[in-house]
């Protein structure tokens, strides 16, 4: 703890300002302020593409304790637009740690702030809803009203088309562990490293494809299954992936979607999506599966949700479908299942990372689905 502390500000679009110390890179970070309640897994969270253009507020007060290692990244780098914490670790301690969290933030130019009353900030976001914000330090600092103006000048999350910014430019293949049982075309709208890993462990060869991939290329692959990943932004803008998914459904290719993928499947089935006040972001969130009544504790990260009611059945261009999972906290839709075509999806993260592994068996269901339609 040094005496000379560099100031940093976190400025909300409604004019509320939190004063703390500069953390990570100096400068300006603009994005939507959201909070995550996970007590572990900041490395996975920061590298999760779904957090693209968001300023993540960590409710857990002591952050960086286990440093930064070479194994736990969930994408090519840190994705967040800014990072707000209360107490950063002075020096990390863990046998796998290679560098400190702050070094990782600095190296990757992520502007952060520490020492603010994160709980007050979270309560504000809970009441007023997630909103635009900016983290400012160093040369980016200026008079309050000017900073607020800069925040108001930044784009809204609603209507934001972001998956294009995080998708892979080139297709790539993740080979199956051991002998290959299936080939899956995975649409990368912000996929996390652990998802192909989970599939590969089940004998799936995963072809990770750019978001703009046309149906023809998928036909060439002749996959046993189609997967739509998680990703950032407003699903209402994702028309291309939705159209693609419709074509896949026409071909009755077994389909599985996660998070953004759940919203895309929903839209393909004719359902709308809407923005949640402050979303679900954490690794302690219950989900009830209505078929069994069982509860899973899940990892979640979504600011938008699919319209629908617990257990609701509805008609779609592809036959009947149902809302298969909801969150008992607020009744929010957490999963869908098409009945006449082989397709299902969940709003939460069975690949976890960070988070509990309760829902890992969904990948086995995907395998069963592909088995089934292989005949």
């Amino acid at each position: 703890m040094t005496a000379l502390l560099e100031t940093a500000l976190l400025v909300l679009e409604d004019g509320r300002i939190f004063r703390g110390e500069a953390y990570g890179a100096r400068g300006e970070g603009l994005g939507e302020a959201v909070f995550t309640t996970g007590m572990t897994g900041y490395q996975e969270t920061l590298t999760d593409p779904s957090y693209h253009r968001q300023i993540v507020v960590q409710t857990a007060p002591q952050i960086g304790n286990t440093g930064w290692n070479d194994e736990d990244d969930e994408s090519r780098g840190i994705q967040v637009a800014g990072y707000a914490v209360r107490d950063p670790a002075r020096t990390p301690s863990n046998w796998r740690s290679r560098r400190s969290l702050e070094d990782a933030l600095r190296e990757q130019g992520i502007v952060g702030i520490s020492g603010i009353d994160t709980r007050a900030l979270v309560r504000h976001l809970r009441e007023r809803g997630a909103m635009r914000a900016g983290v400012f330090s160093g040369d980016a600092l200026g008079p309050d009203d000017e900073l607020v103006a800069r925040v108001l000048g930044s784009p809204q999350m609603e209507g934001a088309d972001l998956y294009g910014a995080v998708t892979t430019r080139e297709p790539y293949v993740v080979p199956a562990d051991g002998e290959r049982r299936f080939r899956v075309a995975a649409l990368d709208v912000g996929i996390k490293f652990n998802t192909p890993r989970m599939m590969a462990a089940r004998g799936i060869e995963v072809h990770v494809l750019p978001a703009g991939t046309p149906m023809e290329q998928i036909d060439e692959l002749a996959p046993d299954g189609f997967f739509v990943a998680n990703g950032p932004g407003d699903p209402a803008t994702a028309d291309a992936p939705v159209a693609l998914t419709r074509q896949v459904l026409e071909r009755r290719i077994p389909t599985f979607g996660i998070c953004f993928g759940n919203q895309i499947l929903a839209r393909a089935l004719g359902r709308g999506t809407y923005k949640l006040r402050y979303g679900h972001r954490g690794i302690n969130i219950p989900v009830i599966e209505h078929a069994t009544g069982r509860v899973s504790i899940t990892s979640q990260n979504h600011g938008f949700a699919v319209e629908g009611e617990a257990g609701e059945r509805f008609d779609t261009p592809f036959g009947a479908a149902e809302i298969s999972h909801t969150c008992p906290n607020d009744g929010c839709v957490e999963g869908l299942r098409a009945i006449d075509v082989p397709a299902f999806s969940v709003q939460y993260h069975p690949e976890a990372a960070a988070g509990p592994h309760d829902a890992a068996d969904l990948f086995d269901r995907f395998v069963e689905l592909m088995d089934g339609s292989k005949g």
């Binding site: 301690s93 504790i297 988070g355």
Partner: protein, 1099 residues
């Protein structure tokens, strides 16, 4: 799916007396269970021998049996109550073991009673360490290598195979009793033999040592749908080798990545399922290798545990309450989270603060006991603190301990190099000193096994200290940072002498507007709005920081200050009184606000008071809470009288600071506590007290002793709980005491009292409203004065005192109450010496015996006291029916049942450095951890129950060994004769045997220990250890005589668990008890029933 409708009547088993390893947390869990089950409309019957518990209050169950928690008595209760089911998982190991016994003896089957919340096979799979290890491996988990042994030969073989050091762990014991780390073959012999003896199934586990690894615990819950949640993760700051109960622990885990944490979670859940804990809570411990991350499972407790209570308070997720609901058929998703009111209990709490728990020890009470912390739990209590950072929580927890040190730098550094390797009480202070003196984190980590992250946080504090010392002026930013790091005003004052103490720092702080904000424990890191006002303080540097105290103006508020960490002399009894005050004042229309830092208690359950502040009970922290409450409404009063010495000690300063302390005034408290002033009160009232004097040197002391005559009782004038008291018989021992009393000085003199030999001690609890005095109860001690009132057993109503004495007791108590100016509760201790009734001391506060008296007499003393403190008169309370219409506890109806209180002592947990037992002798210094109540029509039966509840039944046949001091021989003849008539074989040492023979008792002579054993004759100690003695009567030979024999005999008795009576009076009582048992005159009766007839007899 809703709850089962085939269960209408549940029997809950409590955990019995407070002992090390099983304390107040089981009153908290049991009370929650009773509340929940009754709210569900079920009939609840309860068995618990501990009268100091809230759960045994008549209003918490339909039928409350304050009876021993033993299979015999439980069967009687089952026969009387015929419950549909028994819930045994909330009463600790005691309840669980009792349930297993009832199952094995076929009682459950015979009465068609179902065990709920636990399944016998699961219990065995969880508790049988070998079976358990197999299960862990079967689900892919890893465990320390080990072997189960049933004999010393097997033990030696196993140790040879594993290589020393090894851990020795008896099966089916709680709190690590009898377990330990064997570094040498000698350790192995000693620990394994006691371990085999300690285990109810003579089984010990010899285990590979993982000493120095990181230790973790997970608290899990499972419902009948197989939904599982992890409620809390706990990381031990002290590494493996120090019992979790003795470790500083932190929640949530601080030094695990998500991968490692999820691995632990996966293994934990898999183990829970494989063991088959069908519903309820369970606790699993892990060790993690700091260098490789290798994860091994240490053990699981298939029940609510000490850590579950901690986890509940740490997270706001009430494990016991939910376990009770699960047991009657609900599933987690059907149970609402009280705190949010909206979301279900099927989730995992997330914390936006850090929790630190620190254990409280009592080594000073057991001279010669080895202070090394090992795998056997030795702490007697704990304090918990919440802060927004580890540093803040650590600081708050350290100052909650109420030991001589109240946080870093508040006492002089001990000279010599700080020893960070030895795991001892207060090692954290040595660690801080070492880092401050420049030793590297890596270095200290290597020696102590403490994770570098924690050490670095402490290093940060030492750097901050430097900054504060070096700063030209203590400006606002620096002061804010200091407070944010958890430093108390007092700590800062140590670093900045110009403030002349903490008051100076505080006024500066207030001038600069630096005050704590109060945050809320809400299980969800503020994701949802919280309805339960469960708060903790924190300092923020952010100007946008928020406090979350909702204004409350409809009702006047009353703050009740709790009693802090449990310790010997101040335990659960005081929490009981605080909780009663809350209940009574709530009913009377006040908003109740509880302040306490003890996670084990009912008072810190957010369901108890209208608001809860989980805060240290220091002057600074209390003052800030009062301020926060005054800002949010009107504070009618602060109660300091019910939480024992802790809050009482704050009375003066709070009053001086303008805080409205209600009840007995600070000045009056001083009258009672200041020796001189109190002497005046007695003189005016014409009441005799033992002659005494104050000495600041040996010569003065000797002069006083010469004047008042030996024996004398010496003690430092300033300590409580009988600390450092000794009975001295001659100049030589007096000289010894004075030389040992290091802190003796002009302003810290030694008190020398005339010691009243063979006096009957009498304890009185009374209420006074300023005009009327209500005697709550008069307790006659069974042991003579000289045995601390907290350690001696006593009877209520008195069994031998005559009318005139009782009249004298009443008049004296009234005189003292008025003389002192008591408003509320008063406790007076008398010694009846010959015809004279001496006053020993008066405590102007709730005493340890308040719950016992309230249960014995069916009068809620603490409730009445709380009302009186807020202005009600005794007359009004009588009219209201809170107190009986006429008469009081000083004059109980002739046919009133007899209540006997027996103390429970922890000697068996302590060992000298050489590994011998410590002397289980009673004296003026209190040593007991808890108590039981025996309640029955006759004294004999009540006493027998008290023994059964405290130590296991008295024998009704077999061998009694008798050896007594000359002065006792006379008095002993009759009881021993009686035992012989009752068919006991009598063994005695030579002198005693002669006396007995002359009175026609054929006693067999046995060799004294000091004679040494020969091929021909074993000594008495050999025979006790061999287990062929069933009862021991051994009175000490005064201070002068040869006491070593007595010591060897008594510690052998403790080692073997043989009832050992050390006073003449105790022997008499035991004989009456044995008679009652032989006559089969011992049944069970519910408190409600007993109280009903008491009330009838009164009106």
């Amino acid at each position: 799916m809703p709850r089962r409708d085939d269960i209408r009547h549940v029997m809950v088993i409590g955990s019995g007396p407070i002992v090390i390893g099983q304390a107040a947390e089981f009153d908290y869990s049991g009370t929650q269970a009773c509340r929940v089950l009754r709210a569900e409309g079920l009939r609840v019957s309860l068995v618990n021998s501990n009268p100091a518990t809230i759960m045994t209050d008549p209003e918490f169950a339909d039928a409350t049996y304050v009876e021993p928690v033993t299979p015999e008595f439980l069967e009687q209760v089952i026969a009387a109550e015929r419950p549909d089911a028994i819930l045994p998982t909330l009463g600790g190991q005691t309840a669980l073991n009792a349930a297993v016994a009832l199952h094995e003896s076929g009682v459950l089957e015979r009465y068609g009673v179902e065990l709920i919340g636990a399944d016998i096979d699961a219990i065995q799979r969880g508790e049988d360490r070998l079976k358990f290890k197999e299960i862990v491996q079967s689900v892919g988990g890893d465990v320390p290598r080990s072997a189960v042994c049933h004999s010393m030969d097997e033990v030696r073989a196993a140790a040879a195979d594993l290589g020393l050091p090894v851990v020795i762990r008896p099966s089916f014991t709680m709190g690590g009793l009898g377990s330990g780390m064997a570094h040498t073959p000698e350790d192995l012999e000693r620990l394994a033999s006691t371990g085999l003896a300690a285990s109810p199934v003579t089984e010990v586990l010899i285990e590979e040592s993982v000493l120095g690894w990181k230790e973790y615990e997970l608290e899990l819950m499972r419902d009948k749908h197989d939904n599982v949640v992890v409620v809390c993760s706990i990381e031990n700051l002290d590494p493996m080798g120090v019992h979790t109960g003795d470790s500083i622990t932190v929640a949530p885990a601080m030094t695990l990545t998500d991968r490692e944490y999820q691995r632990m979670r996966d293994v934990g859940i898999a183990v829970l399922r494989a063991v088959g804990v069908d519903t309820g809570g369970c606790n699993i411990q892990f060790a993690v290798h700091p260098g490789t991350g290798r994860l091994v499972v240490i053990e699981m407790n298939p029940r609510v545990s000490r850590s579950s209570a901690l986890a509940s308070k740490a997270t706001g997720f009430p494990i016991a309450k939910i376990a009770a609901r699960l047991a009657i058929g609900y599933t987690l998703d059907e149970i609402r989270n009280d705190i949010t009111g909206e979301t279900p209990a099927a989730f995992e709490p997330t914390l936006d603060y850090v929790v630190v728990k620190i254990p409280r020890f009592a080594f000073e009470k057991f001279p010669g006991a080895d202070p090394e912390l090992t795998t056997t739990m030795k702490s007697v209590g704990e304090a918990m603190a919440l802060g927004r950072s580890f540093q803040e929580a650590l600081g708050k927890a350290l100052r909650s301990m109420e030991t001589s040190r109240v946080g870093f730098w508040t006492a002089l550094d001990p000279d010599g190099d700080p020893d960070v390797a030895a795991s001892r009480e207060g090692r954290i202070y040595a660690v801080e000193q070492a880092l401050r003196m420049g030793r590297s984190v890596a270095d200290v980590a290597a020696e102590s096994g403490i994770d570098p992250w924690f050490l670095d946080q402490i290093l940060g504090l030492t750097e901050l200290r430097q900054e504060i010392e070096d700063a030209a002026v203590l400006d606002a930013p620096l002061l804010r940072r200091a407070k944010r790091a958890g430093l108390s005003d007092r700590q800062i004052a140590v670093l900045r002498p110009e403030f002349a103490g903490e008051d100076g720092v505080r006024s500066l702080r207030h001038r600069l507007g630096i005050r704590p904000v109060y945050k809320t424990v809400d299980t969800c890191a503020a994701e949802f709005a919280a309805r339960t006002p469960y708060h903790y303080s924190a300092y923020e540097t952010d100007p946008a920081a928020e406090s979350e105290i909702a204004p409350q103006t409809e009702k006047p508020k009353v703050l009740i200050l709790g009693s802090g960490p449990n310790r010997i002399g101040q335990g659960i009894e005081f929490d009981y009184s605080c909780v009663h005050a809350v209940m009574a004042l709530r009913e009377a229309g006040f908003e109740t606000v509880m302040v306490n830092c003890n996670p084990e208690t009912v008072s810190t359950d957010y369901d108890t008071a209208d608001r809860l502040y989980f805060e240290p009970l220091t002057f600074e922290d209390v003052l800030e809470v009062v301020h926060a409450e005054q800002v949010s409404g009107t504070v009618a009063g602060v109660i300091v009288q019910l939480g024992g010495q802790t809050p009482l000690g704050l009375a003066q300063r709070l009053t001086a600071a303008g805080v409205p302390v209600v009840g007995t005034s600070a000045a009056a408290i001083d009258l009672a506590e200041d020796r001189g002033a109190f002497g005046e009160v007695l003189r005016k009232a014409g009441l005799p007290a033992p002659a005494f004097g104050m000495a600041t040197s040996f010569d003065e002391a000797r002069a006083i002793a010469a004047r008042i005559g030996y024996p004398v009782l010496v003690r430092p004038s300033y300590v409580l709980g009988g600390r450092g008291m000794e009975i001295v018989y001659d100049d030589e021992t007096l000289a010894g005491y004075i030389s040992r009393a290091t802190t003796i000085s002009e302003d810290r003199p030694v008190l020398v009292d005339r010691f009243l030999d063979d006096a009957i001690e009498i304890d009185v609890d009374a209420l006074c409203d300023g005009s009327e005095v209500f005697i709550g109860g008069v307790m006659e001690h069974i042991e003579e004065a000289g045995v601390h009132s907290g350690d001696s057993s006593c009877a209520l109503p008195p069994i031998t005192l005559g009318r005139s004495v009782l009249e004298q007791v009443r008049r004296s108590t009234e005189a003292i109450a008025h003389g002192v100016g008591v408003r509320g509760l008063l406790n007076v201790q008398y010694a009846l010496h010959g015809e004279t009734l001496y006053v020993l001391e008066a405590n102007p506060r709730a005493s340890r015996t308040v719950p016992f008296v309230s249960k014995a007499t069916a009068v809620p003393l603490a409730k009445a006291a709380a009302r009186i403190m807020l202005g009600a008169t005794i007359a009004e309370l009588r009219a209201e029916g809170l107190l009986p219409g006429h008469g009081d506890g000083g004059e109980l109806p002739p046919d009133a049942p007899i209540a006997v209180k027996e103390a429970v002592l922890p000697f068996h947990r302590f060992r000298t450095v050489e590994g011998h037992g410590v002397d289980p002798l009673l004296g003026p210094e209190m040593k007991s951890t808890g108590e039981v109540m025996g309640f029955d029509a006759s004294f004999g039966a009540a006493f027998a129950k008290s023994q059964a509840g405290a130590y296991g039944s008295l024998p009704t046949s077999g061998r009694v060994f008798v050896s007594m001091a000359d002065r006792d021989k006379r008095a002993m003849v009759f009881p021993v004769l009686r035992l012989a008539d009752l068919g006991f074989e009598v063994l005695a040492t030579e002198g005693t045997a002669d006396v007995l023979r002359r009175h026609g008792v054929a006693a067999t002579v046995v060799r004294k220990h000091s004679d040494g054993s020969t091929e021909g004759g074993e000594t008495i100690v050999d025979r006790i250890l061999a287990g062929d003695v069933d009862l021991i009567i051994n009175t000490p030979y005064g201070n002068s005589g040869p006491r070593v024999d007595g010591y060897e005999i008594r510690s052998a008795a403790v080692a073997r668990g043989v009832p050992c009576i050390t006073t003449v009076q105790g022997a008499g009582a035991a004989v009456q008890g044995i008679e009652a048992m032989k006559a089969g005159r011992i049944g069970v009766r519910s408190l409600q029933d007993a109280h009903a007839s008491l009330l009838k007899a009164r009106s």
